[in-house]
């Protein structure tokens, strides 16, 4: 008899394992908003400026990275039946390394000094090494036929490529060595990071959570079987195409990018369609965040491909700023935000219930995370994104956009902290006493 080795049904890891990441994420979003207010319209001068690089990394490594790392450590036991070993130590180490790492990286860009960049390289490099090793081991033990596990594996693979390229580029800033390939490496770095790590993780996780939260039909089998592998293969092809002779390079890259974009478009359209077919009539904040996110993803893909075909379009939207805001703030931040509003109240309920069973009544998810607070934050975000995108056309819009985005991030943090306080207050009631701080 061949039972899967290492399969585990153990309960969720201690609450601070994901929460230390979740509570940190909006603070980076807030820093990004402050940076936008400070640098204002000058951000739109060129995407290669240090201030833009700092902004991008606060949003991606800071907000998205924190939330995604935390969510993945939380979800692996459930979706893959394979928890991360030593979750407390791993979470603590990864958090303690990444948090100052992101700050120093942003500072290194902004102030153009060498030492923060060098320390950031060390911190981010070791933080991601620990994370990838721990998550990689867990994914290796997971059942190989789950499309979500497959998607997560490709996403982690893309993360490794992104991080390696990122470290190479950072060393260029840290030591000023002559890096002739810089532009090419930057394109590789951001494509692997956004389409690979972020895109593939969202796709893989969607296969589970979209049907689960709204009771939609499942994603079509051929899609879940092939899509993430195909996109990963296309990213590899695209990377190789960078080094083809100039004569064929452009067409080859355009072809590959278009096919990958079609892959993501199919995913977004299928997701929106499944959500229309949901059996659960109750609409909620998570659903609205996802619909908004998928719509932004579609717009970003259309704009991205159109920009490749018609270069004037790229110049008009100021060096692809509209595209970047649509993908990062519109798609990725929305999806992650929506997920947090399900994961966080549920986790708190779950931990409280095992603590308080038979002692006292446990607050339900809506009491832990009240709907009105989530809705307010959601509308601020929905208002911020179009303004961010339009600021690529008319830069002064960056000010109201940043104000809205920053306020939305503050409210998100307030909502998360409110929920966490409900946990702390109720956990005190347990006769067993509060669980250890981890």
């Amino acid at each position: 008899m061949s039972l899967q080795p290492g399969l585990s049904f153990s309960q969720a890891p201690p609450i601070l394992v994901p929460f230390r990441f979740f509570l940190s994420a909006p603070l980076f979003g807030l820093l990004a908003a402050l940076l936008m207010l400070w640098y204002g319209t000058s951000l739109m001068d060129s995407r290669w400026q240090p201030s833009v690089l700092a902004l991008t990394h606060l949003m991606t490594l800071g907000f998205l990275g924190m939330a995604m790392v935390g969510a993945m450590m939380q979800m692996l036991p459930v979706v893959a039946g394979s928890p991360v070993a030593h979750p407390v130590g791993v979470a603590r180490a990864v958090h303690v390394l990444l948090l100052p790492g992101v700050l120093l990286l942003a500072g290194g860009f902004l102030f153009g000094t060498h030492w923060p960049m060098r320390i950031a390289m060390f911190l981010l490099g070791s933080g991601f090494t620990v994370f990838v090793a721990a998550v990689g081991l867990s994914l290796k033990r997971a059942p190989p036929d789950s499309p979500t596990v497959v998607g997560m594996r490709f996403a982690v693979g893309a993360l490794v490529v992104t991080a390696a390229l990122g470290l190479t580029l950072a060393s260029n800033y840290g030591w000023d060595w002559w890096l002739i390939e810089r532009v090419r490496l930057i394109n590789l770095h951001l494509t692997w990071g956004l389409l690979g790590w972020v895109g593939l993780l969202v796709v893989g996780v969607s296969y589970q959570v979209v049907p689960m939260f709204q009771l939609t039909p499942s994603y079509p089998k051929p899609l879940t079987r092939w899509l993430t592998a195909a996109i990963f293969a296309l990213l590899l092809l695209w990377s190789v195409a960078q080094y083809l002779p100039d004569a064929v390079q452009e067409q080859a890259m355009l072809a590959v990018v278009s096919v990958a974009a079609i892959g993501f478009m199919v995913f977004a359209v299928v997701t929106l369609r499944l959500q229309l077919q949901r059996r659960r009539k109750q609409s909620d904040v998570t659903l609205l965040f996802w619909r908004f996110g998928m719509t932004c993803l579609l717009l970003a893909l259309v704009l991205g491909v159109a920009g490749q075909v018609i270069p004037a379009l790229d110049r008009m939207q100021g060096d692809n700023f509209a595209l970047a805001f649509l993908f990062i703030a519109g798609f990725a931040v929305s999806v992650v935000n929506g997920m947090l509003y399900k994961i966080v109240p549920f986790l708190i309920w779950f931990h409280l219930q095992s603590l308080l069973m038979g002692v006292t009544k446990v607050p339900n998810m809506r009491q832990i995370m009240p709907e009105p607070g989530m809705r307010r934050q959601m509308w601020l975000h929905f208002a911020a994104v179009p303004l961010l995108v339009l600021s690529a056309l008319w830069p002064p819009l960056i000010y109201p956009a940043a104000l809205l985005f920053g306020t939305s991030m503050i409210l998100l943090e307030v909502n998360l902290l409110y929920a966490f306080r409900v946990y702390q207050q109720n956990a005190k009631l347990a006769t067993k006493g509060e669980p250890s701080s981890t």
């Binding site: 008899m1 061949s2 039972l3 899967q4 399969l7 049904f9 153990s10 309960q11 459930v78 979706v79 039946g81 059942p143 789950s146 589970q208 689960m212 939260f213 009771l215 059996r279 659960r280 009539k281 109750q282 909620d284 399900k342 109240p345 549920f346 309920w349 779950f350 219930q353 095992s354 069973m357 009544k361 446990v362 339900n364 998810m365 809506r366 009491q367």
Partner: protein, 146 residues
């Protein structure tokens, strides 16, 4: 032929359907309908738990000798879900819509993550372990659920 996996997975979907119906009923004003729809849903859940706890889990535990393994975690989660059932029923008695919807939302996530673990791991292990006596176990489960 049904496998245990396919049989139990389709029963999950049937329960999901009834959950959605009970939750949708709560947007209306008629507490009688809400109570009735909730009862239909809860009956189907109790039936499902009964098939697992009285037939499937013991058979699996006996075959594998793993009584403190995955089935134990699933039983604990059943206990957690039963608490939510009670809370939903209480909310209907008190005609407290917000409380009902909050408990329903909590149950939905609890139930879905539980089903996910069963469908992707436990039932597959069960199909392997009980391959030789599949029909018999299915019959016993149907009888227990009748």
């Amino acid at each position: 032929m049904d496998t245990i996996s396919s049989y139990m997975t389709s029963d999950h979907h049937r329960c999901d359907e009834l959950f959605a119906q009970a939750e949708a009923a709560a947007s209306g004003q008629d507490w009688g309908t809400i109570a009735a729809d909730l009862q239909v849903f809860l009956d189907s859940m109790h039936r499902h738990f009964k098939m697992e706890e009285e037939v499937l889990f013991p058979a699996f535990e006996q075959r594998t000798g793993m009584s403190m393994g995955p089935t134990q975690v699933m039983r604990m989660e059943h206990v957690q879900m039963r608490e939510l059932f009670d809370a939903m029923a209480d909310a209907v008695k008190q005609q407290d819509r917000e409380e009902f919807l909050g408990q329903a939302e909590t149950l939905l996530v609890m139930m879905q993550q539980h089903n996910m673990k069963e469908e992707q791991m436990l039932y597959r292990m069960v199909d392997q372990t009980l391959a030789g006596e599949m029909e018999e176990v299915l019959q016993q489960m149907r009888a227990a659920g009748a």
